[in-house]
Symmetry: C2
Subunit: 417 residues, 2 copies
Amino acid sequence: MLDAAIGSGRHERPCVFEAFARRLPDSRRYGVVAGTGRLLELIEQFRFGDEELSFLQQNKIVHSNTIDWLANYRFTGNITGYREGDAYFPGSPVLIVEGSFAEAVLLETLALSVLNYDSAVASAAARMVSAADARPIAEMGSRRTGERSAVASARAAYIAGFSATSNLEAGRSWGVPTMGTAAHSFTLLHDSEAEAFQAQVDAFGPSTTLLVDTYDVEKAVDLAVKVAGTKLGAVRIDSGDLAVQVASVRAQLDSLGATNTRITVTNDLDEHAIAALRAAPVDSYGVGTSVVTGSGHPAAGMVYKLVAHHNDAGEWVSVAKKSTAKASIGGHKAAMRTLEGGLATSELIYQASDGRPDAEGRDLIVELMTNGSADARWLGHDGTLAARNHREQALAELPLNAFRLSRGEPVVPTIYR
Amino acid sequence: MLDAAIGSGRHERPCVFEAFARRLPDSRRYGVVAGTGRLLELIEQFRFGDEELSFLQQNKIVHSNTIDWLANYRFTGNITGYREGDAYFPGSPVLIVEGSFAEAVLLETLALSVLNYDSAVASAAARMVSAADARPIAEMGSRRTGERSAVASARAAYIAGFSATSNLEAGRSWGVPTMGTAAHSFTLLHDSEAEAFQAQVDAFGPSTTLLVDTYDVEKAVDLAVKVAGTKLGAVRIDSGDLAVQVASVRAQLDSLGATNTRITVTNDLDEHAIAALRAAPVDSYGVGTSVVTGSGHPAAGMVYKLVAHHNDAGEWVSVAKKSTAKASIGGHKAAMRTLEGGLATSELIYQASDGRPDAEGRDLIVELMTNGSADARWLGHDGTLAARNHREQALAELPLNAFRLSRGEPVVPTIYR
């Protein structure tokens, strides 16, 4: 595309691209935007190095003038869009990229990869957080997604309200609180469960979490309290019928005097399994596969569409694909969430050139990148924490119906004005 | 775990870990191993740098002797396992890692991330390849998975039999054949569809593939042949009822004399949609979301378990988790695929120390890494191509039942001897 546009001379036309989702996955009621801060850093760093250029040249993938153009590439345009952590709905203009066709079209794959994956994780994670009803959830799914996606998913889950991750790299690069886990291999390595428990308590003190289901849960709970004392921090159960198991472990811990020892459970949980444990004496959850794979919907389904470009007279022309079910709406748009009494009533999308409608509500579009330079508020550890805090505020605006786990319509309608 | 094991002094015990899947996702009939070549390169490079070590130190995540140990870390053990591209079944010991507990346990997350993601993609892709019945499929899903997973999935789909990818980085780093695509934005950028088609034909000649569903398919097909002539390479349809659409476009192309112009379709295809188009005059497919997300199963579900370790007397002790549904089978195992008349009859798994059973069949375990050094046969472009070729041979051994898309049992039983 880039090569042919350079050939036709249209590559320098000023353009507006927009990333949005046509629908929410699986009839969910809202989505959570994530990936924005990570994406802005990747866009700032996006270059074509000698190895990439040689590959394109030697394989005759593009013409030599395109190689020259790519050698000097960096994105110099403007990006606006939703704050990371905000809710989104069908049609929400989550990311708006302004630049020449050439520089903006090159970002399509990167922007969608990041937003689709991270938003899929955050949207699933937010449902788990509300299902957990204020009990903490740790992200433990690194081994069930690509090795780099693992870091992104720890970050996205944290933005959505998870309390910690087992992915240390997410702690280092994004400031996500980290926690260790002991696997069954640690118990099996030692000559007895008692030796394994003692090794862990020696290393981390009695406040550690002991894994009690390697051999026999009841014996292991007895042993755990014997080794660590009644100050034992927590026991973890990773198998079995959790509702039954948890109640009996709670009773056993209490009878042993370990009334403050917490119970954490981690066996293939998703939002539905978490909700089903609401009445059980669970203190915290660990979630793996289901959160890093978007609980059945591992890609948010956002698309990146050209919505406007300059014509030869330098005037903006709105454009949209017209065929069949995938028709889109052209024009550089803006959005607000209309509110009544602090609660969202609609996602109101309008042409930016028409100006803000006269309605009560919150403007959703913020500046993300100006002339190729990212707004520092959204980057790094601070940006990640800001997104987490914004998610809490933004979801507090949604009607309670948003948090039902069953399938349904988006909790507010999208209105185009 | 590492920190506590260093504390207990058990970290240097020689150990054997094994990666395997307890079951195949969604009652599929076989899985395809992928990621091995990529993983071996990542293991060779796996180090803890100053930034990582400072993070661990400053946040008091591990003790200082563990920091010292990590500073010198590189994997020095042996890895054996299934050839990349081979079929696997429940219990198949896909990867066997031998080393000290400390050095082998550190690989758990990396090994599972790579194998679970890449094998999920390859296992889904292989079903699409058999559904396509020898018609080529291009991988176009980069935008629907994490930005690094996108490269891995292009590679895994190629190993499983896809013919090409739109991900240029997969071409550069793994030798996967690449192809360009024109999106609707390219058509919309130009002042008319005619101008866009002309720009593309000017850049790439008439053998290019023109996207014909931006406005009106019938008019676009007429225009495409008018602009490119009857030597037009292909038209692409990305929306609508494909079976109906394809038949009418074929008739239209033929009536225009473009009898050699191919038709490629790309609208949210998975293996079932591909199979449903078998009777339609489709020449090739492009698949995005469904292949990079494992067609509903984005993680292969492999686990990494300690199966044996030395005791203090230097003897091997088999170990296994005993609790409930997640019980595992201990011991350093090997595997063969028993064959009758060239067709697989079972996945036969045995204790390596017992020696190979006296049965007709193919040994499945090969050397992958020796003393921390990867076998060059499995690496880079050559290793990727070798995996693709091996996949073809390995799947040719499976009974025809393997290629049914409906749910069922694994096509051969796993037998432990």
